[in-house]
C-alpha cells in the first residue's frame, strides 16, 4: 500500500509534463485529442489530489526519493498537509477551468498550443508545491512562470504582447533574486534540501545573511504573489490573458508560486519571526491599495485583477499574524479566494464570450439573457465581498477576529475598510453588468454553452458550501492540518527526516 502512495507524488508533475509534450506532438494532427487528453489529465490529477488528502492525513509527510537517492544528497518530493491542501485547490480549479476552456478557447486558433502551455503551467505549480528541494523549487517556479508568459500573450494582440513582455521582464528579475537567494543560502548551509537546510539554519543562528536572503525571497516571491509594492505587472497581465487563464493566474498561480512559496520558505525553512510583521504590513497595504484601485476601474477583468492584489493582502495579513487562528483564516481565505476569483474570471469570460465587451459602461441588464452567468456571478460577488452564508464571509470573519485577538485592532479596522470597498466595487459590477437596462445591441445574445455553464455552477456551489470547511469533522484532515503544518514551522525538517527512516 505504501508503495503506491509514494509513487503517486511524482505523478503530479510527470503527468501534466508528459501530456503537455504529447499534445504538442499530436494536437495539430487530430483536432479533438488535445481537448480529451487535457480533460483526462485534469480529472486524473483532481482525483489523485483527493486521494492524497486521505493518505497524507494518516501519517506524517510522505517523502519520495528521486532515483532512490537518500536526501540530503538526493532530490526528494514531499507531500505534507500543506502541500495536499494546495494540491487540492490547484487541481480542482484546473479541472473546472479545463472544462470551461473546451468551449471558450474555440474563439482562438491553435487550441492545442494553449493546452500544451496550460499543462506546462500546471506541472510547474504542482512541482513547486510538492518539491522538497530549494533549487527544484526555483526550476518549477520558472516552468510555471514561463508557461504563463506565453499564455498571457496568447491572444497576440498588441496589448497582450505588451502585458506579457512587462510581466516577463519583471518576473525574470524576481526569478533572479530568488536564484540569488537560493545560491547564498546554499553557500551558507551547503545543502539544497529544504529539510536539511532548515536544520542547518536553526543550528547556525544570528547571521546577517539570513536577513538579506529573506528580503530577496520576499521581493522575489512577493512579485510572483503580487504583493504590494511588487504587484505592478498583475493589473496588465491578468486581464490580457484568455479568461480561463486569467482564472488560473489569479486563482492559482499567484498563490502557488507566490504565497505558498513564501509560506514554505519562511515558515518551514527559515523560521518565520522576521517575516511576520513584514507580511502583515505588506498584506494590509496590498489589501487597502488594491481595493481602492479596483473600485475606480471600468474594465471588468482589470477590476478583478486589482482585487486579486487586495485579496492576497488578506491572506498575507492572516498568515502574518502567526497565531493558529490567523494562519487558519489566511489559508482558508486562500482556498476561498481561489474558488470565487476563478469563478469571477470565468463570469467575465462568459460576458466577454456572449457580448464581446468587458467595459462595464457598455454592458447592462445581462441577467435577462444570461441567468446562469448572472446568478453565479452574484454568488461569487457575495463571496468575495464577505457576505454570509458564502465562503468568503467565514474566512474574513476569522481573519478579523484573529487580528483583534492577537492585539492588532488597527489591522482589523483596515480589513473592515477593505471589505466595505470590496463590497462596493462588486455591487458596481453587478449593477453595471447584470442589473440595469439591457442595451439594444445585446438583445440577441444567448447564454454561454453548457460546459461553461457547468464550470460556473460548480464553482458557485463550492462558494456556497465552502463554509462547511470550518466544521471540524470536515476540516480536520484538510484545512486544520494544513494550518497546523504552517504553525509548526520548522518542525517540518524533523517530520521529513522521521518519515525517511
Amino acid at each position: 500500500m505504501s508503495g503506491i502512495n509514494y509513487t503517486m507524488i511524482p505523478l503530479f508533475v510527470a503527468l501534466p509534463l508528459t501530456v503537455s509534450f504529447l499534445i504538442m506532438l499530436l494536437g495539430n494532427r487530430v483536432r479533438w485529442i488535445s481537448d480529451m487528453l487535457c480533460t483526462v489529465v485534469a480529472l486524473a490529477l483532481c482525483l489523485l489530489s483527493f486521494y492524497a488528502v486521505g493518505v497524507a492525513s494518516g501519517s506524517g509527510p510522505l517523502v519520495y526519493r528521486m532515483g532512490g537517492w537518500l536526501p540530503p544528497a538526493g532530490i526528494c518530493l514531499v507531500l505534507d498537509s500543506l502541500s495536499v491542501f494546495m494540491l487540492v485547490i490547484v487541481n480542482v480549479i484546473t479541472l473546472i477551468v479545463t472544462i470551461y476552456a473546451i468551449n471558450y478557447m474555440e474563439q482562438y486558433t491553435a487550441k492545442s498550443k494553449f493546452y500544451a502551455l496550460f499543462l506546462l503551467m500546471l506541472a510547474g505549480m504542482n512541482g513547486v508545491i510538492v518539491t522538497g528541494d530549494m533549487f527544484n523549487l526555483f526550476v518549477f517556479l520558472e516552468i510555471g512562470s514561463i508557461a504563463s508568459y506565453g499564455l498571457v500573450a496568447f491572444g497576440t494582440e498588441e496589448e497582450e504582447l505588451e502585458a506579457s513582455f512587462k510581466y516577463m521582464i519583471m518576473g525574470s528579475i524576481a526569478g533572479l533574486f530568488i536564484l540569488l537567494g537560493i545560491g547564498l543560502l546554499y553557500s551558507y548551509t551547503s545543502t539544497l534540501n529544504m529539510a536539511d537546510m532548515a536544520l542547518v539554519v536553526s543550528e547556525k543562528s544570528g547571521s546577517k545573511l539570513i536577513g538579506f536572503v529573506s528580503v530577496l525571497f520576499l521581493v522575489g516571491f512577493g512579485l510572483k504573489g503580487a504583493l504590494f509594492p511588487f504587484h505592478w505587472w498583475l493589473p496588465d497581465a491578468h486581464p490580457s490573458a484568455p479568461a480561463p487563464i486569467s482564472a488560473m493566474l489569479s486563482g492559482l498561480l499567484i498563490k502557488a508560486l507566490g504565497v505558498y512559496a513564501l509560506i514554505r520558505v519562511f515558515f518551514s525553512v527559515l523560521g518565520a519571526t522576521a517575516f511576520l510583521p513584514v507580511a502583515m504590513v505588506l498584506g494590509t497595504m496590498s489589501m487597502v491599495i488594491g481595493v481602492f484601485l479596483a473600485v475606480g476601474q471600468w474594465d471588468f477583468k482589470r477590476l478583478l485583477a486589482y482585487h486579486s492584489i487586495s485579496q492576497v493582502g488578506y491572506i498575507m495579513l492572516g498568515i502574518g499574524l502567526g497565531t493558529p487562528l490567523g494562519i487558519l483564516g489566511g489559508l482558508f481565505h486562500l482556498f476561498n479566494h481561489s474558488m470565487f476569483k476563478s469563478l469571477l474570471f470565468l463570469n467575465s469570460g462568459a460576458v466577454d464570450y456572449a457580448t464581446g465587451s468587458r467595459n462595464l459602461k457598455e454592458l447592462g441588464g445581462l441577467r435577462e439573457r444570461m441567468p446562469v452567468s448572472a446568478s453565479t456571478s452574484m454568488v461569487a460577488s457575495m463571496s468575495i465581498a464577505g457576505l454570509p452564508p458564502f465562503n468568503g464571509f467565514w474566512s474574513k470573519l476569522i481573519i478579523i477576529i484573529a487580528c483583534v485577538d492577537a492585539g492588532h485592532p488597527v489591522y482589523a479596522a483596515w480589513a473592515v475598510v477593505a471589505s466595505i470597498m470590496t463590497l462596493a466595487s462588486f455591487m458596481k459590477v453587478q449593477k453595471y453588468v447584470f442589473f440595469g437596462e439591457l442595451k439594444e445591441k445585446f438583445n440577441a445574445i444567448k447564454e454561454v454553452p453548457f460546459a461553461m455553464q457547468f464550470s460556473m455552477v460548480f464553482l458557485a456551489a463550492i462558494c456556497f458550501l465552502g463554509g462547511l470547511l470550518l466544521v471540524p469533522a470536515v476540516s480536520g484532515d484538510f484545512l486544520q492540518s494544513a494550518a497546523d503544518t504552517v504553525a509548526n514551522g520548522t518542525e517540518y525538517a524533523k517530520m521529513v527526516f522521521q518519515s525517511l527512516q
Binding site: F165, K166, I169, M170, I173, F177, K208, G211, F212, S214, V215, L218, V219, L223, P229, F230, W232, W233, P235, D236, A274, V278, I289, F292, L293, V295, G296, G364, G365, M382, A385, G386, L387, P388, P389, F393, K396, L397, I400, I401, V404, D405, P409, A412, A413, V416, S419, I420, M421, L423, A424, M427, K428, Q430, K431, F435, G436, E437, A473, V474
Partner: protein, 626 residues
C-alpha cells in the same frame, strides 16, 4: 465518512424537534424550493410562501406564549427566546403573513415572482434567526443574509432599481463588516460571544469602539442617521410591498431590537446616552425636513421611516424604563402604520401607475378603503390621540422628562426636537393626503380610471389601520402583554392620559366641527362656474394651448413648504442636502474615487517606472530588515 453521516443524522433529528430551529429552517428551505421553481410557477410559489407564512405564525404564537426557551448545540448554535425577542418574533411573522397576502394581488402578472417569494421567505427565516440567536456569530450570519435578501428584493423591480439596490447593499453590507469588528472587540473584552451576561463597564477606547460598532449595525439596519440614506432610495424604487416589508417594518424591528440588546450588554454612561440622543433627535428633525420637500409618495414615506427611528433611538437613550418601553412600543406601532402607509402607496401605484404626488389627486372617491387606512395611519404617525402613535410618543416624551430629573438641561432640546418633529410630520401628511386623495384629479389619473384594489390588497391595509386604532385605544393591554416583559424594570407612568374621556372629547370636537360646517356652508352653497380674474376658467389658456382646468388654479398642498425652503438657515441646509453632503454613501463614493485616482496616477504602465518602484520597495525592505 460514515461517522460524519451518522453525526449529521443525529444533528438533524436533534434540530428538527426544536420549534425555534424549525421557525428558521422551514422558511429558508421553502425559499430555496421557490427559487428553483420554473419562472412560470409564480402562483405555486405564492401558495408555498403563504402556507409557510401561516406555518411560521403557528409556531411563533406558542413560542411567544411560552415566554422563555433556550436551545444550544455544540455551543455555537445557540438560540434563546426571552421577553425581548418574543413579541418581535410574533410581529415578524404577522407582518410577513400580511405582506404575503398583499403580494397575491400586488405581484400578479409581474416578472420573477418565484424569486420574489423566495427572497421574502429567506427574509422571514433569517429575521427569525437574527432575533432568536443568542450567539453573536450566529446573529452575524443571519444579519448578513438579511442584507443579501434586501439587495435582491430591492433589485427585483427592474433596471431603475439597480442603483437603489446597490446603495442598500453597500450601506447594510458595510455595516455588517463593522459589526464583525465590534463583535471581535467585544469578544476580546468579554471572552464570550454570548449575547447575554453581565454588562460591560465602559473604560478604555476599545469598549467605546465596540459599542459604536455594534450600534452602527443597528443604525444602518433601522435607518438612523448618518446611515439612513439607503432607506429613501430603497423605499422609492423597490416594489411597495418590499418597502412595507423591509425598511418600514422588519428592518426597524430588527435594528431597534439589536440596539436595545446592545445597550443591555453595556453599563450605559451619560456620554454614550448623549451621543445616542443626538443621533435620535438629529434623525427626527433632519429626516422630517427632508420628507416635507419630497414629491414622490414613496420617497416621502421613506423619509418618515427614517424620522421615526429617531424617536425610538431617543427613547432608548433616555435610559429610563418608561422611555425604553415607549421606544419599543413605538417600534411596534411604527411597523404597523408605516407598513400600512406603504401598502396604501402600493395600492395607489397599482391603480394609477405613478407615485409622483404632482400627478396624483382625486382618489378619495375611487379608493375609499385606501383612503380610510391612509388617514388612520397618517394620523397615527403624526401622533394624534387616541391612536397608537400618540400612546408611544407620549411615553417617550415622559421618558425624556424623567431622564431630565437626574440633572442637565439637554433634555429640553431632545423634547423640543421630538415635539417639533411631530408637528412637521403632521404637516407633511396633510400634504400627502391632500395631494393624493383630495385635490382635483390629474389628467393621467383620470385616464387611468382608478378603482379600489381587490380584497387581497385592502384587507392587510384595513387590518393594519384597525390595529393602529386598537393599539391606541387599548394601549395598556399590548403594553403589558408585549412591551413590559421586555423591559427588565417596573414601568410607571408619570403623566396621566385617560384615553376614554379624551377620545370622547376629541370625537365631540370633530362632530362639532362637522356640524358647524354643515350648518354654515353646505346648506346653501352657491354654485357657479370657476372664474379667474373676471374670466371663466375654461375660457382662458394657462399652460400652452391646453385649456386650463380647476387643477391649474387650485392652491396645491404639494408646494406649501416653499416658504420654509426659502428661509435662511433652511435654504442653505436644503442646498447642502441637494449636493448630498449628508449622505455618507455619496460622500464615501467621492472620497474613494479620489483615493483611487491618486493610486492610479502611479500605475502608468511604463515598465521603467514599475521596475524603479520595485527596486525602491526592495531597498525599503532591506533597510527595515537589516
Amino acid at each position: 465518512m460514515n461517522e460524519l453521516i451518522a453525526q449529521s443524522n443525529m444533528l438533524l433529528t436533534d434540530l428538527s424537534a426544536q420549534p425555534m430551529v424549525l421557525l428558521i429552517a422551514v422558511p429558508l428551505f421553502a425559499g430555496i424550493v421557490c427559487r428553483f421553481l420554473p419562472s412560470k410557477g409564480g402562483a405555486v410559489a405564492a401558495v408555498i410562501a403563504f402556507l409557510t407564512g401561516i406555518y411560521a405564525f403557528l409556531i411563533a404564537w406558542p413560542l411567544f406564549n411560552a415566554k422563555a426557551a433556550a436551545f444550544s448545540h455544540h455551543n455555537w448554535l445557540a438560540l434563546r427566546l426571552d421577553g425581548i425577542n418574543g413579541f418581535i418574533l410574533l410581529a415578524t411573522t404577522v407582518f410577513s403573513l400580511l405582506i404575503l397576502i398583499y403580494s397575491f394581488g400586488f405581484m400578479k402578472g409581474k416578472d420573477r415572482q418565484n424569486h420574489y417569494y423566495a427572497y421574502i421567505l429567506w427574509t422571514l427565516g433569517a429575521s427569525c434567526g437574527a432575533l432568536l440567536a443568542s450567539e453573536f456569530i450566529l446573529l452575524l450570519v443571519f444579519w448578513g443574509i438579511l442584507g443579501v435578501t434586501l439587495y435582491l428584493l430591492t433589485g427585483i423591480s427592474g433596471p431603475e432599481a439597480a442603483g437603489a439596490a446597490k446603495k442598500a447593499a453597500i450601506v447594510i453590507g458595510g455595516s455588517d463588516s463593522i459589526l464583525i469588528l465590534g463583535i471581535a472587540l467585544l469578544w476580546v473584552i468579554r471572552h464570550t460571544t454570548r449575547m447575554q451576561g453581565a454588562p460591560v463597564e465602559f473604560g478604555g477606547p476599545l469598549s467605546y469602539i465596540a459599542f459604536f460598532c455594534l450600534a452602527t449595525a443597528a443604525f444602518a439596519k433601522a435607518g438612523a442617521m448618518p446611515f439612513h440614506s439607503w432607506v429613501p432610495d430603497c423605499g422609492e424604487k423597490a416594489p411597495a410591498s418590499v418597502a412595507a416589508f423591509l425598511p418600514a417594518s422588519l428592518d426597524k424591528l430588527l435594528g431597534i431590537y439589536f440596539l436595545y440588546r446592545t445597550t443591555t450588554l453595556f453599563t450605559m454612561n451619560s456620554g454614550v446616552t448623549t451621543a445616542l440622543a443626538v443621533i435620535g433627535a438629529g434623525t427626527i428633525i433632519f429626516a422630517v425636513m427632508m420628507a416635507l420637500v419630497q414629491h414622490d409618495l414613496k420617497r416621502l414615506l421613506s423619509y418618515h421611516a427614517v424620522s421615526q427611528v429617531g424617536y425610538m433611538v431617543l427613547g432608548i437613550s433616555t435610559g429610563t424604563p418608561l422611555g425604553i418601553a415607549g421606544s419599543l412600543f413605538h417600534m411596534l406601532n411604527h411597523a404597523m402604520y408605516k407598513s400600512c402607509l406603504f401598502l396604501c402607496a402600493g395600492a395607489i401605484e397599482h391603480r394609477t401607475g405613478t407615485s409622483d404626488l404632482d400627478k396624483l389627486g382625486g382618489l378619495a372617491k375611487a379608493m375609499p378603503v385606501t383612503l380610510f387606512s391612509c388617514i388612520i395611519a397618517s394620523m397615527a404617525i403624526s401622533g394624534i390621540p387616541p391612536l397608537n402613535g400618540f400612546a408611544s410618543k407620549w411615553m417617550i416624551y415622559q421618558g425624556i422628562i424623567e431622564s431630565g430629573r437626574s440633572g442637565g438641561v439637554l433634555w429640553v432640546v431632545w423634547l423640543t426636537a421630538a415635539m417639533v418633529g411631530s408637528a412637521l410630520t403632521l404637516a407633511s401628511f396633510v400634504k400627502l393626503l391632500h395631494a393624493s386623495f383630495f385635490r382635483q384629479p390629474s389628467p393621467e389619473v383620470a385616464a387611468a380610471k382608478p378603482r379600489e384594489v381587490g380584497p387581497g390588497m385592502w384587507l392587510p391595509m384595513g387590518f393594519l389601520a384597525l390595529l393602529c386604532v386598537a393599539f391606541g385605544l387599548r394601549y395598556l393591554s399590548p403594553l403589558s402583554r408585549f412591551i413590559f416583559p421586555a423591559v427588565n424594570a417596573p414601568v410607571s407612568f408619570t403623566g396621566k392620559w385617560f384615553v376614554g374621556p379624551a377620545t370622547v372629547m376629541i370625537a365631540g370636537a370633530l362632530f362639532g366641527g362637522l356640524l358647524l360646517y354643515l350648518l354654515g356652508t353646505v346648506k346653501k352653497p352657491r354654485v357657479c362656474r370657476t372664474y379667474i380674474g373676471g374670466e371663466y376658467l375654461d375660457e382662458v389658456y394657462i399652460s400652452g394651448s391646453e385649456k386650463s382646468t380647476a387643477r391649474d388654479v387650485e392652491v396645491t398642498g404639494v408646494d406649501f413648504y416653499q416658504t420654509i425652503r426659502d428661509m435662511t438657515p433652511f435654504k442653505q441646509i436644503y442646498t447642502m442636502a441637494q449636493w448630498k453632503l449628508f449622505d455618507l454613501y455619496e460622500v464615501g463614493t467621492h472620497v474613494s474615487f479620489f483615493i483611487s485616482k491618486i493610486f492610479q496616477f502611479f500605475h502608468t504602465g511604463v515598465l521603467r517606472q514599475y521596475i524603479s518602484w520595485y527596486v525602491i520597495g526592495m531597498i525599503i525592505l532591506l533597510w527595515l530588515m537589516k
